[in-house]
């Protein structure tokens, strides 16, 4: 199921923000190169707010304990855990669209 979250300008370039979608929370990231990513909102390690992490070249660092994730696969680079990722894109009018795959 695709959901439109609103304009990409709600997220500063290179940062992320969490969105409340039904009962679920999803972190959306706006890369400096224009890429958009969406993952679960909390770090599987100690529930750190991933949207507050550092982002660059498709990699995200959790702000709490520096776990590093590959945003395209969700896999942790320096740990055993993985993030749930969601396909995300920008619409022609600059709206964030994510595919929840299943209803939240």
């Amino acid at each position: 199921m695709e959901v439109t979250l609103g304009p990409i300008t709600a997220i500063p370039r290179g940062e992320g923000r969490s969105f409340q979608i039904g009962s679920a929370q999803i972190a959306v990231f706006r890369a400096r190169d224009g890429g958009v990513f969406a993952t679960q909102a909390e770090c599987p390690h100690r529930r750190g707010p991933l949207a507050d992490g550092l982002l660059g070249s498709g990699t995200l660092i959790c702000p709490l304990h520096s776990l590093k994730f590959d945003l395209s696969t969700g896999q942790a680079v320096n740990g055993d855990c993985a993030l749930k990722t969601y396909p995300a894109r920008l619409s022609e009018t600059g709206q964030i669209v994510i595919d929840l795959q299943e209803a939240p």
Binding site: F19, R32, S66
Partner: protein
């Protein structure tokens, strides 16, 4: 797919197994079908620990490096317990006992060494068979035989007072034997020690119950059907029941010799470890490279790397240039470190020496042209890691020679890595044990950075980084892979800090994204962002282009993130001085925003903890106090005592000075956080001696300035920079020091690491005496940063980014 090449390795000792590990680590499993021959009927073990097996401190199974399953898991075919009989070079075949034949495209000989048996009578029985009671000490089977024979015997003698001999002697003590060591020459461990050191060691050993005979050349082993004693060339005799010959080793090169390869003292190889047959390579103790034959483990590891790089094609230019070997060992519990020459050999060689014979301590260094060319440490080897590195890398040593021998005023050395239990936690922030690091190394990570990234060891407070590196180096057997990024300011931009500063200035790069674009090929390494932001602020002050995504979350929202994603807010409170009105206001804020926890901080301020991100702007407005910057790598606070206003001991106005310091340095970005203090008298109630910068009032109207102190994850007393007369001078010199630190420290390098790294003498010369003529420039640069100060909490009314304080956005249709 092309078929794999056949690689055969003769020898499954430390060299053979290591070279295979190195080949696998470079993806060799895809390129080669690997077969190995080992004479011993098991996997590979750590031969260095044989004496521990002999003395009972380790079981044989404890010293295995790779069990048999490892070979199968890695697709390596191992012929264990099979002796190779012939190399057929024309057929490219290796022939072994039991009719086993392996074809090869590439062959590696790693046959190690054999014990050297000095010529003497009575070594064997008249029929040439082994004489009961005579042993060599080279492998696990030797250990087993000695153990079986020693039981119930009275006296054991070791021929050979070198490292191996003393290790064997230590082992024999375990069997309640009366142990003697026979040394042909004047002093024991002649390879590693000079005469005075050998004399001290001899005394120490004798204190442990081992009798050492020097200048005794063995003529014969006595006894008709078993050992009964020794006879020496001077005619004297010594009765004994058991003899271990440990008089040295020789390269085991017979197989190569019979195959017609060039063999001198060992199998002759070139810089690629290639023999005179381009298909055949050799590594380890069986090799002779540039006339040198090595009997230690470190060169073997360097050789294994070079050879693996060649065979796999990972680095066609890899070359072995010989090894400078520093050894560290434990002889009967006595720690010894040795490197290079043991006596000065050239005019002008400088000898630095310390002897405390009573304690068994001896230290001697030989310095040539400011560089270490030889060294012996006995008894106290805490400086060994530093000295070995200075020797191996040929780096200049500090002018103050005393500091080469002793840690003066510095924290005591961490417990020896080797003796540390496997389950011991090395990184206390991320709970990484020594065992976890060892496991990671075993999986093929061989550089400090890769192990730290994989285990997150050293990635917390960072105080353990040195120890973590030591453990990694130890687990790698002393030689980690050089990680080129170790010298970069941040890993994501391949430049050292001076190079990076030069490039940033030359190209006028004022934002983090422009640095990535111009200097890192556009690749944005997220972990490098905060370090770059910090540097750019230092260089450009008000001209810096602040891209918030480059900052850690704390610096995006000017508060400190907590474990549950809430934030802590600490308003500025210069000198720890507050008022009833201010306290009331803070209390009202705490009530209004339901602050779960209020706490007094170590920096004499008040912390409101557990605030929601979206409440931050209102909290700041209601507090109506500037940010205390209790987040981020910046100037934090200046703690003070009461000083002269009320205290009957006060000599200087510490409270006033602290407030002046805060007004000047507030918000200043730096490579690490800065915690300062002022003390009104030398009683130091405000702990100014353990701060990044501390000012202490002393009698005579002076302030002493201390720098590089710490009392957090790391404890260090600051070094005295200078004493000055006025508050203004304190502000000027501490500011100049801070600017020097900002420009020269590595990112996240606290002053407690920076000051000893650069040296307080150098810092004092630059900061106080202006030896480099940069004092004025430093003052100006700092002033520029001071002038650029803005209270970030003003962003309550003028947000820097969209939804800056929005924690959870809802869908906008």
């Amino acid at each position: 797919m092309t078929s794999k090449q056949k690689l055969v390795v003769i020898g499954n000792g430390m060299a053979g197994a290591r070279v295979v590990e190195e080949i696998l680590a470079r993806g060799g499993r895809e390129q080669f079908e690997i077969s190995m021959f080992g004479e011993e009927p098991y996997g590979n073990y750590n031969r260095i620990l044989l004496s521990d097996v002999l003395n009972g401190s380790h079981e044989a199974e404890d010293i295995f490096l790779n069990p048999l399953a490892w070979y199968a898991d890695n697709g390596v075919k191992l012929h264990a317990g099979v002796k190779v009989s012939k190399i057929l070079r024309h057929a490219q075949q290796v022939e072994a006992e039991g009719g086993i034949v392996e074809n090869y495209d590439r062959l590696i000989i790693a046959t190690g060494s054999l014990p050297f048996l000095p010529p003497m009578d009575g070594l064997t029985l008249p029929d040439g068979s082994d004489k009961p009671g005579v042993f060599v000490f080279r492998n696990l089977e030797d250990c087993r035989k000695i153990t079986a024979y020693a039981l119930g015997k009275k006296r054991g003698v070791v021929i050979g007072g070198g490292l191996l001999g003393l290790e064997a002697a230590r082992g024999l003590q375990n069997f309640s034997l009366d142990v003697h060591v026979i040394q042909r020459g004047n002093s024991i461990m002649g390879q590693q020690l000079d005469d005075p050191a050998a004399a001290i060691l001899k005394k120490t050993l004798e204190g442990l119950g081992i009798v050492v005979h020097t200048n005794r050349d063995t003529r014969a082993i006595r006894g008709h059907d078993q050992v009964t004693g020794l006879e020496f060339k001077d005619g004297t005799r010594l009765s004994c029941d058991l003899v271990v010959i440990a008089a040295g080793i020789k390269a085991n090169s017979g197989l190569a010799l019979r195959a017609g390869l060039a063999v001198e003292r060992g199998i002759v190889v070139d810089n690629r470890l290639c023999t005179d047959d381009p298909r055949i390579f050799a590594v380890g103790e069986c090799v002779q490279h540039r006339g040198q034959v090595y009997g230690l483990v470190a060169p073997l590891w360097e050789q294994a790397k070079v050879l693996a790089a060649h065979l796999t094609g990972a680095d066609a230019d890899a070359a072995y240039h010989g090894s400078k070997v520093a050894t560290k060992l434990k002889v009967m519990g006595v720690e010894v470190a040795s490197m290079g020459i043991t006596e000065p050999t050239e005019e002008g060689d400088e000898v630095v020496q310390f002897t405390e014979a009573k304690k068994g301590t001896y230290k001697k260094l030989i310095i040539r042209n400011g560089r270490l060319v030889g060294g012996i440490l006995l008894g106290d080897i805490r400086k060994a890691p530093y000295l070995s590195q200075a020797y191996e890398r040929n780096t200049p040593v500090p002018e103050e020679r005393l500091s080469l021998l002793f840690d003066i005023g510095a924290p005591s050395e961490e417990a020896s890595v080797e003796s540390m239990p496997v389950e011991m936690q090395v990184c206390n922030c991320n709970g990484v044990t020594k065992g976890a690091i060892m496991g990671c190394v075993k999986q093929g990570k061989r550089s400090s950075k890769s192990v730290m990234e994989a285990t997150r060891a050293g990635m917390g407070c960072g105080a353990c980084k040195t120890l973590v590196s030591q453990v990694i180096a130890w687990a790698c057997g002393g030689s980690t892979d050089e990680d080129p990024s170790a010298n970069f300011y941040v890993p994501g931009v391949p430049l050292t800090k001076p190079e990076l500063i030069e490039a940033i200035r030359a190209l006028g790069l004022k934002s983090v994204s422009s640095v990535f674009a111009e200097l890192a090929g556009g690749k944005e390494d997220p972990g490098s962002k905060p370090g770059l932001a910090s540097l750019l602020i230092t260089l450009w002050a008000d001209e810096y282009v602040d891209e918030r995504d480059a900052r850690f979350i704390n610096d995006r929202v000017h508060a400190n993130i907590q474990k549950d994603g809430t934030f802590s807010v600490i308003p500025q409170m210069p000198g720890g001085v507050t008022s009833a009105a201010e306290l009331r206001r803070i209390a009202d804020v705490a009530d209004k925003y339901h602050v779960p926890l209020m706490k007094l901080t170590g920096g004499q301020r008040i912390d409101l903890i557990g605030l929601k991100r979206e409440d931050l702007p209102n909290v700041w407005r209601d507090l109506n106090m500037p940010s205390g910057f209790a987040y981020g790598k910046r100037y934090r606070t200046c703690k003070s005592c009461v000083g002269t206003d009320f205290c009957r001991f006060g000599l200087g106005n510490s409270m006033g000075l602290a407030q002046q310091i805060e007004a000047r340095f507030q918000g200043l970005d730096a490579p690490g956080k800065l915690k300062l203090a002022t003390a009104g008298c030398p009683r130091n109630c405000s702990e100014a001696l353990v701060k990044d910068v501390g000012a202490v009032a002393v009698e005579g109207g002076k302030w002493e300035i201390y720098v590089g102190g710490a009392a957090g994850a790391h404890v260090r007393k600051g070094d005295l920079l200078c004493a000055v007369d006025t508050h203004e001078a304190v502000l000027q010199l501490s500011g100049r020091f801070l600017q020097y630190y900002r420009e020269n420290a590595r990112y996240l390098e606290r002053t407690y690491a920076f000051v000893p790294r650069v040296g307080i003498d150098k810092i004092r010369a630059v900061v106080v005496d202006d030896s480099e003529g940069i004092a004025e420039r430093l003052d100006q640069s700092l002033q520029r940063s001071v002038d650029a100060y803005q209270d970030p909490w003003q962003e309550a009314d003028t947000p820097a980014t969209a939804n800056q304080f929005g924690a959870l956005l809802s869908i906008v249709q």
